[in-house]
């Protein structure tokens, strides 16, 4: 079973040379730590920055330089600043190659719910609805089951939706799965030490298993 860092490490392998990537808050943010040095990637922060760098050194933080999670960050050489309208313009126009975000639920047809739990204080969708409605390549990083032990990979989402038919791939602590265009979670890889049966038991939606399922190489 993978920890959060392990999930981030596995997702980092999906990032290709030359990609512009938007990382959501939570596990997706950790992915930046595992992008191999030889891969040329530019990180987009939807508050208006391309070229997001690591956290600043102590004492060098600048209130005017933050990421979409409101954390102080740095700007790498070659960075570009723009306003919020252009930021979502480049997302809508599909200039951002890969979007990685967290989720509360994903359905077998690629619907995603990640912004609202009825009965709880709703904080808002932020940029998530814009991202999932436009991005062509969306990877979800999440736990396979929720704190109550219930599967988060479902036939249909039960929570209010963020977007429909949009998730392409899911990486959890147990597995890597593709969401097929016709519906269904296709099992691609098992986490180290995890059996196919354990993944079946944790997946409520339609799980497609073809042939031997290899263990992740991370």
């Amino acid at each position: 079973m993978l920890d959060k860092e392990g999930i981030a490490k596995r997702i980092a392998k999906e990032i290709k040379d030359g990609y512009y990537v938007n990382l959501g808050i939570g596990i997706p943010t950790l992915v930046a730590n595992y992008i191999p040095a030889h891969i040329d990637v530019v990180l987009q922060s939807e508050n208006g920055l391309l070229g997001m760098g690591p956290f600043p050194f102590d004492g060098e933080e600048d209130a005017d330089v933050i990421n979409a999670g409101k954390q102080t960050i740095t700007m790498l050489p070659g960075s570009a600043i723009f306003d919020s309208a252009m930021s979502f313009g480049m997302i809508r126009a599909k200039k951002v190659n890969l979007t990685i975000l967290g989720a509360m639920e994903v359905s077998e047809n690629g619907d995603i719910a990640n912004w609202k739990i009825p009965g709880k204080m709703v904080k808002g969708m932020g940029g998530a609805m814009d991202l999932v409605a436009s991005a062509e390549n969306i990877i979800v990083a999440m736990q396979h089951v929720n704190k109550a032990g219930e599967s988060k990979l479902l036939p249909q989402c039960t929570l209010p939706l963020t977007g429909i038919n949009c998730v392409k791939k899911i990486v959890t602590e147990l597995a890597v799965l593709d969401v097929l265009p016709g519906g269904g979670f296709k099992l691609l890889e098992r986490a180290p030490g995890i059996s196919v049966e354990e993944i079946e038991n944790a997946t409520a939606g339609k799980l497609i298993i073809e042939g031997d399922i290899p263990e992740m190489d991370i």
Binding site: E60, E61, D64, V65, G69, F82, F88, I91, G124, M125
Partner: protein
Amino acid sequence: MNKVVSGADEAIRDVKDGMTLMLGGFGLCGLPENCIAALVKKGTKELTCISNNAGVDDFGIGLMLKQRQVKKMISSYVGENAEFERQLLSGELEVELIPQGTLATRCMAAGYGMPAIFTPAGIGTEVAIGKEIRNFNGKDYLMEMAFDADFAIVKAWKGDTMGNLVYKATARNFNSVMAMAGKITVAEVEELVEPGELDPDHIHTPGIYVHRIFQGANYEKRIEQRTTKKRV
């Protein structure tokens, strides 16, 4: 074309109860701190505030919420504010949550003189309820209307007396799109300079969009999430 006013009090002098205001900033970054302080002092009420976030309890729009000056917030994310939550749950405050890109682009549309935009954000979700949907090239889009705001209140890094503005780093965020979108746009700047001191090629907001400008004072520039690494 001198747009200079004496300060925040004069800049917001005719903001009246019940008006709609745009307030620039993202989180606590790039907030028009002086104008917010002047609005709190003035005590204007029943305001509708269009702003990506709602500040925190003791900073940003949180200060106006505490004085019960806000009737409605139009935002994309309103996380970090206990008083906000209390007012929302008690029904004192109305909140309309909209996607961040939709929020920005509805500002942009106002500044570009376009009545509406089409965006895929929110299709298939509760955001789409009651809105017109159009299909272009096989994909559904929501029609979202340009904002209509009485005032846009923004913060820039530098500005000249003609109202030309330059923002710094990610403090540009919603400031430059909102600056274009107010019936009256008020800009507070950290440094007010004479015409000619800003390179025309580097202007982010042309002064035609700005009606009032002043040099602000005592910027606190609070940081919401101070994340750093140790020097090794």
